[in-house]
Amino acid sequence: MLLVLSMESAIIMTAEKKTDYTNPVKWKGRVLSAVFLLILLLLVIFFAVSMGSSSIPFSTTISILLSQIPFLSIPENWGGTTETVITGLRMPRVLLAGLTGAALAVAGATYQGLFRNPLADPYLIGVSQGAGLGAVIGFLIPISSSFWSLNLVSIFAFIGGLGAVFVVYSLGKVGKSLPMTTLILAGVALGAFLSAITSYLLITSGESFRGMSSWLLGGFSSPKWIHVWITLPVITLGSLIICLYGRSLNVMQFDEEQAQQLGINVEQTKRILLVVATLITAAAVSFGGIIGFVGIIIPHAVRLIWGPDFRFLLPLSILCGSIFLILADLLARTVMPPTEIPLGIVTAFFGAPFFLYLLKRKKKAVF
């Protein structure tokens, strides 16, 4: 009897599957996931602010955070040091990690879409090599800048990153169009050239070698609020602009010719997305250093879970990238205090097994 019933339900289910002509754009589930991730992000921020070498009770963290909101009087029952740790050190650090993770993940997804290449990451066309060289030069110049309390390393890294991509862009342009293969080749070649100079400077640098190499692996060891205030508008605005191009990126997954025949202004879209993705990557890299792995793996993980539609892939990557990098940074500073592990090591060490697990679980084409 049970068998018959189960067979019947199986038949009904297959019949339903055959006539399933409902909208394949399952936006309801994906929007719910986004809301869930947003709540998770807030919880993770709160958790990361409480955790650290000196653990602060959650209740105190809540009170301190609430007391920052104007017109809200919270009775003060904590020490001044605790407040400094929360608001002066951990908060900017956690926010910076979140912003950086968001920027790298969304830029990675954009590059993968633009180049139609699953191996693309935000560093593909020279941002990282340019920023690395800029940072190393910043280390070597013996002047301490106090311009808006920004150090020279960040400024030079930003300039270096953008400069490298600008050179690649001008080299890769053919007439009015921008062939993607030429762009990648120019990026790889210029990147190798810049890395050679960076490596040479590194081995001849002597005592500042340690500082430089740990910058190159990424991390947020000296966070300041000014870093947050600079990156916040750039990354928020940039990510928003990229998210508006979700449908164009979907259609561009056909080749460029078909995308154009479906009404997409391909050259303009490529140009805008390249510029914006590069800008937010450079902004992220100049304070966080060259954090690997986030930009390539987060978009793929999102694709494995929620599918290839860029209209969802982009915003979900932003949220997942934020959550991932905040947690990775938490590990980097708490695993063996007082030493901090470079963030690039943490992201790959903990992120790669998780990604491999996802990959193993779903054995279908994801890109």
Partner: protein, 265 residues
């Protein structure tokens, strides 16, 4: 009423001129075939009409409007292309791919609604791809992909349709079905159809007029009987063929003679 007119069109890549002095006019309800040897400019013509490559000279009018003055989206709302061996993104489902044909009709940030879904389902039913709806493009055969791109073009609801070797990956049954479907829709929806075809027999059977291209110019234009002749095929393709007439409809049939039988073996 749909109308595609090419007036003294010159097209090419960089410094190279591929096509020049091309004058073509196609009206609603007409299927016009473009034939010619490899590299004669059939695909270039289709790229030019959809402004994938810029015009070097002359003008192309879609329903009396020059493509120079309208947006890429306006072109896509009027003209749909079925490309030769289309690249389809592997991770998307067939349904999602056909729905992307609705792109030119959607407003900024608009999502596909029930109306678009209905159009896509209808297009997949017409091209016999509805059973593939939930399959990923990466799992489909060449012929299934080809029919899917035809479904996508139908979902685009164009007035003018350009086909670049639409039957190259299809078996004989789907070749016939595809061209029957296109000629039927051409009459019913009032499409103007331009099809680049390799197969002279299919071109003769399904096109009202045939344009034969050679070395970047129009070599001959007219009814199948006027264009598909042994002399023309010899001069344009350099091939020796026999032209017979179809036992049912008297249209020209191109016959190939194998050398080994010719020699009496």
């Amino acid at each position: 009423m749909q109308k595609l007119s090419l007036k003294n069109v010159t097209l090419g890549y960089g410094e190279t001129i591929v096509l020049s002095g091309i004058d073509i006019e196609i009206l609603s309800g007409e299927v016009i075939g473009i034939v010619g040897p490899n590299g004669c400019g059939k695909s270039t013509l289709i790229k030019g009409i959809t402004r994938v490559i810029p015009l070097k000279g002359g003008d192309i009018l879609l329903n009396e409007k020059s493509i120079k003055g309208i947006s890429q989206n306006d072109i896509a709302r009027t003209v749909a292309v079925v490309p030769q061996s289309a690249v389809l993104p592997e991770a998307f489902t067939a349904f999602e791919i056909v729905l992307m044909g609705r792109t030119p009709h959607m407003k900024f940030l608009e999502y596909e609604g029930q109306k678009d879904v209905d159009i896509a389902v209808k297009a997949m039913k017409m091209t016999d791809t509805i059973h593939l709806a939930q399959r990923r493009a990466g799992e489909l055969s060449g012929g299934e992909k080809q029919r899917l791109t035809i479904a996508r073009a139908l979902a685009q609801k164009p007035g003018i349709i350009l086909l670049d070797e639409p039957t190259s990956h299809l078996d004989i049954n789907y070749q016939i079905e595809t061209l029957e479907l296109i000629s039927e829709l051409c009459k019913k929806e009032g499409w103007a159809v331009l099809a680049a075809l390799h197969d002279l027999n299919l071109a003769a059977q399904y096109c009202e007029r045939i344009i034969m291209l050679n070395k970047g110019r129009i070599f001959n234009e007219g009814t199948p009987c006027e264009v598909v002749t042994a002399v023309n095929v010899k001069r344009v393709y350099g091939a020796d063929v026999c032209i017979s007439s179809h036992p049912v409809n008297r249209l020209p049939v191109t016959l190939v003679t194998g050398n080994r039988w010719h020699n009496g073996n």
